[in-house]
């Protein structure tokens, strides 16, 4: 039977699985915690250049670059699947900006260059100290900035004097960031469900308490709706669908991490549990490539124009 085939194809699933395996091998929990410890107040580098190269070789950055230009020649549907995996693994680094820079900034496609972007708004730039280039910057070399302490240990921040324009990358940047958020939302859901099944109080797993169950069910609903929105937006690339995907994914990731934190109880408030890392990253991403207000205004405009 033929018809709308929304589910990923076998090839797409294989691509996703490849990235998941690569990340599980190269950036598992131990590596994640090591990079958190290494980042510290001294501000060691967060981006693992070796892994960046491996990602480049696996086609992570050149995925959508035409084959004629040395890319993989795939599209947004494939891209959101691999970005979802990166979000799940909490992989740090300017993944979206470097991906967008493939074919624009030399070395980006192969993972030889680390490219960040003026994508946070305000006067902040992430990974400036480690970046070879900044997307949206008018000239070389990258602007200098003042380091500030970042809420997310794996997203170092600099304050800069002049800001660049990334509006031409906004839509795709929003979509790929939304895919990262969906990965994170699915991961915090998994963490919460696993913890709820293991941790016992009052003589039973806390997951048997309905209040805990319903938190988890809510996480799933938000994550599934957001994931579907991201996949659909990847297929249509319509500005309204991308804006909606961004809104829903931000909500799924931020609210998901908070609910996960609640399910973890006191353990959720520790540095040791990974939950806070998901929440903090989700906060960073929620404002990336445009604000919720901008997305909602865009949708409102489309709504007004619809069917009239």
């Amino acid at each position: 039977m033929r018809g709308v085939h929304f589910q990923p194809t076998e090839d797409q699933e294989a691509l996703r699985a490849g990235v998941r395996d690569l990340l599980a091998g190269r950036y598992g929990r131990e590596e994640l915690r090591a990079s958190v410890d290494g980042a510290g107040p001294a501000g060691g580098p967060v981006v693992d250049r070796g892994l960046w190269r491996e990602l480049g070789e696996a086609g992570f950055f050149a995925l959508r670059l035409p084959e004629a230009e040395g890319g993989v020649g795939l599209g947004l549907p494939e891209a959101v699947l691999v970005f979802e995996e990166a979000g799940r693994a909490l992989l740090p680094g300017p993944l979206v900006a470097t991906h967008l820079a493939a074919g624009v900034v030399p070395g980006a496609a192969a993972g030889k260059a680390v490219v960040t972007a003026f994508d946070l708004g305000g006067d902040l730039v992430a990974y400036l100290g480690e970046a070879d280039a900044v997307l949206g910057a008018s000239g070389e070399p990258p602007p200098a900035g003042e380091p500030v302490r970042s809420v997310d240990p794996l997203t170092p921040l600099h304050r800069v004097a002049a800001y660049g324009d990334v509006s031409e990358y906004r839509a795709t940047g929003t979509l790929l960031t939304a895919a990262l958020q969906v990965g994170s939302a699915l991961r915090t859901l998994e963490l919460a469900v696993r913890y709820a099944a293991e941790r016992e109080q009052f003589g039973q797993p806390i997951g048997a308490f309905q209040a805990v169950k319903h938190l988890c069910a809510g996480m799933l609903v938000r994550a599934e709706v957001a994931r579907t929105a991201v996949y659909a937006a990847a297929v249509t690339a319509a500005p309204g669908e991308i804006a909606a995907a961004g809104l829903l994914a931000d909500e799924a990731a931020v609210a998901g991490a908070r609910d996960c934190l609640q399910v973890y109880g006191g353990m959720g408030f520790t540095w040791e549990a990974d939950v806070h890392l998901h929440l903090k990253r989700a906060w960073v991403r929620a404002g990336q490539w445009g604000t919720a207000a901008q997305a909602e205004e865009l949708l409102a405009e489309e709504l007004l124009a619809s069917g009239s």
Partner: protein, 397 residues
Amino acid sequence: MDLTYTEEEQDFRARLRAWLAVVLPGLPARPSPDDWPGRRAYDAGWQRRLYDAGYAGLHWPLDAGGRGATPTQHLIFLEETERAGAPYVGANFVGLLHAGPTIAAEGTAEQRARWLPPVLRGDEVWCQGFSEPDAGSDLASLRTRAVRDGDAYVVTGSKVWTSHAEVADWCELLVRTDPDAPKHRGITWLAMPMDAPGVTVRPLRTLAGSAEFAEVFLDEVRVPVANRVGAENDGWRVTMVTLSFERGTAFVGEVVACRRTLGELARRAKENGSWDDPVLRRRMGRLYGEFGALWRLTQWNVSEAMGVPPVRAKSRTRGSSGGVPGTGGSVFKLAYSHARQELYDTAAQVLGAGSLVLDEEWTLDRLSSLSYTIAAGTSQIQRNIVAERILGLPKGR
């Protein structure tokens, strides 16, 4: 991942669209919500037109009198009829979306031949006698008794919240045939004629003021054993087969309707100046995005069901695509019912004090929307289902 339709499907859409453009202008005026006989006649008339044009029971199997359409064609049908502003299933809801599919899946050849054609033609209306005063969310605790007496069951008890009971010809009735068995194993599914002696219907007024549902009292009603679908005491399984039919696509048209309503609301807001309120405007923009995503979710569910029998499709998981299993029904219903209530709360903001006027377009809809988180399984029950059956969390003690 692909959201394009085949040529055949686009053809199907075009023909349907053309037919709707011809037939809709000729429909009679919609009757008032309180005029039940009028509503029944209106809904029956629409169903008859669908039948004559070959659109009745589109996705039902051929041997049940259906057209054997693919889930995608069914989706297109729901999308296009709603977009064109065609009538809802209305009084035919239970016949077309629940009792009918149950009989199609579990009934004998004679039972299908007796009951399905009149449903498809719009000649006979069904209601659903499941809930009881003491059995709501805990449906399996139902107590209406059926005692075998020769070739009939003698049924005594009472049902409640029975939608369309006043105008129904038939009731899909759940009764207890074995009071000693564990509660899920002593239930039987019967087709009860509503005009049988001993059936008393007492309409209940809803908070919207109209009589959408009723109490149904059963006093030694004789129902032929031949009206039993499935085996005695197997009624729970028989019923669950169809609850999954109902969940997949029952709300598809309504998602399309919500997007249309939201568009009308935006234009009203533009007219009365409330569009200038950025908080309200943004809220509407966000809702628009949410309904768009819900539409995509129905496409996802339908796409997942393609080529898989509906019953199995429900329990399928997203498995390989990320590790989190998903079932269409509960996840969708939770998100949708919430979004739709939010829609009418937003409408009230647009209307301002006008939302207190009962004749305002969206006031009655706002009142009706209060049932969405209750009917067909409350949101709490849906969350239990998601947590226990999808996420595998343990049952509480």
